[in-house]
Symmetry: C2
DNA sequence: GCGTGGCCTTGATAAAGATCAACCCGGCGC
DNA sequence: GCGCCGGGTTGATCTTTATCAAGGCCACGC
């Protein structure tokens, strides 16, 4: 009763950590386009062998995007799936009066679009220019049946996204403004480390307003709290869109990071 | 590279809506125990045919629980998975100083325990007495490889859980106290309807403190806001732990339900 | 039947963060 | 070069919700 007729509910997905796979799915026209994709080792498709990759490639095309461009709109039919190969995307939900909650920021290797039901439950817009592999949802679902390792990988990521969302529930429900910002900066730091960086110099491609809408705060509060962290010598602003973590331990302590009591 | 060695990251899962399946997985000792399970049509295992069910049943045992009992503790090795067959469970995370965020309430048919990494990222405790099918995580993961329809079903549910979590992000990040409570009551109403009820008389098995920790509020605020809804004639309290929705439309309007602007 | 404890409600006050407002700064177009 | 504009910071005030406190209700045990 499942497996073939079931409407798969895909939402969006990030690498659970270091993906161990080999290659990815950017199709740029060369003889093995996915092999050249710079997001290969971070993507769901990273688990696929030559054959599977070719099949995935066959149903994908490349989509470039520029800042402000919309990839998906909340409420629209969810016909397309994306695998981000470069650039940064923000994903958000709106209330009728315009209040916005940013659900997440997507970076290369993240997967976008797999929504419960047949309509997007969120909007996705580009923050920077970039590119993504685009799939028809139907075709992707059909392929999933035939590539169980892809389905397993997707389940893994979806479960990981769920864990991340649950961490964010704790943040939004119970953390103070400074704890929220500290947690956010540590997340960015960890992401940078997973991508091979030092996790010390952090890029902030998003605006203060976007950070605010992600952390359930206002721009003013984000700005004030940033200043407090700066004043305490925990961070140093390099430019408007990059900073350095000077005291990682103090930042972690402020974040109340994942340290349940005895 | 995936599919067999991959560490599956199972978290917890609910029915995406009406599950169309046939039978479920409670093992009570009869000749086809799963067939008799009252949660069969709500559970992941609902998609399995006779053979698959028997195999699942072979690796499961029945676990009864009483109010206050702990099924999983945040930080402990995540060795067990549960499929709730009766009763209500609360799932929460803690900050070092004891602040609590309830991640969700689990009802019959919900799936619990599939955590990223090898430790539970949350605690799960019984609110009422009840029972669950218990599985070893390892055995379950092994079985998933052989029962692709089960894996598909699990992916579907995990994606659905993710959508629910994202709705909750919007609630915690951007909704006011009264909007949060209204949304919560509508969720319970919808759940009741999916379980075959009218969605009008709502059971509240949890305490005010638990509602507060789910909605990112305090007990006092939950109590005050409940009183306001009562005063406006939107709801009527029947007992401490059940109420009637008198004006569903008004409640939905207050909840700001999923109605993004034009 | 009475006392006790847990849970809930309501009131008074306090605090965190939102809102309103002014100003700064840097980039861009003209 | 100058003015404009979007984004960011900082300050003053206001609002929402938390916190502190008191009291009510109900179930349970003795």
């Amino acid at each position: 009763m499942a497996g073939k007729g079931s409407e798969l509910s895909l939402v969006w997905s990030r690498p659970p950590g270091f993906a161990a796979g080999a290659v990815a799915c950017e199709s740029s026209g060369g003889e093995s386009p996915c092999q050249l994709c710079s997001a290969h080792h971070l993507s769901v498709c990273g688990v696929l062998a030559e054959t599977g990759l070719r099949r995935l490639n066959a149903i994908s095309d490349q989509r470039e995007f520029t800042p402000g461009e919309t990839l998906a709109r909340e409420g629209d039919p969810a016909t397309q799936l994306f695998n981000i190969t470069s650039g940064v995307i923000r994903v958000h939900k709106l209330l009728p009066d315009g209040r916005r909650q940013i659900i997440g920021f997507l970076f290369p290797g993240d997967f976008l679009g797999l929504a419960t039901g047949d309509r997007y439950a969120f909007s996705a817009e580009a923050i920077t220019k970039g590119s993504a592999c685009r799939f028809s949802r139907k075709a992707y679902q059909r392929l999933l049946v035939e590539l169980p390792e892809l389905e397993t990988s997707l389940l893994e990521r979806t479960a990981n996204d769920l864990r991340i969302a649950q961490d964010q529930l704790l943040l939004l429900g119970r953390k103070t403004a400074i704890e929220r910002l500290a947690s956010f900066l540590l997340d960015l730091s960890n992401r940078d480390r997973r991508a091979g960086g030092e996790g010390v110099e952090i890029a902030l491609p998003m605006t203060r307003a976007e950070i605010a809408d992600y952390l359930g705060l206002t721009t003013e509060t984000v700005s004030r709290v940033t200043s407090r962290l700066k004043a305490r010598g925990v961070i140093r602003l390099l430019t408007m869109h990059s900073l350095r973590i000077v005291k990682p331990a103090e930042l972690a302590a402020l974040a109340g990071f994942e340290t349940p009591p005895a």
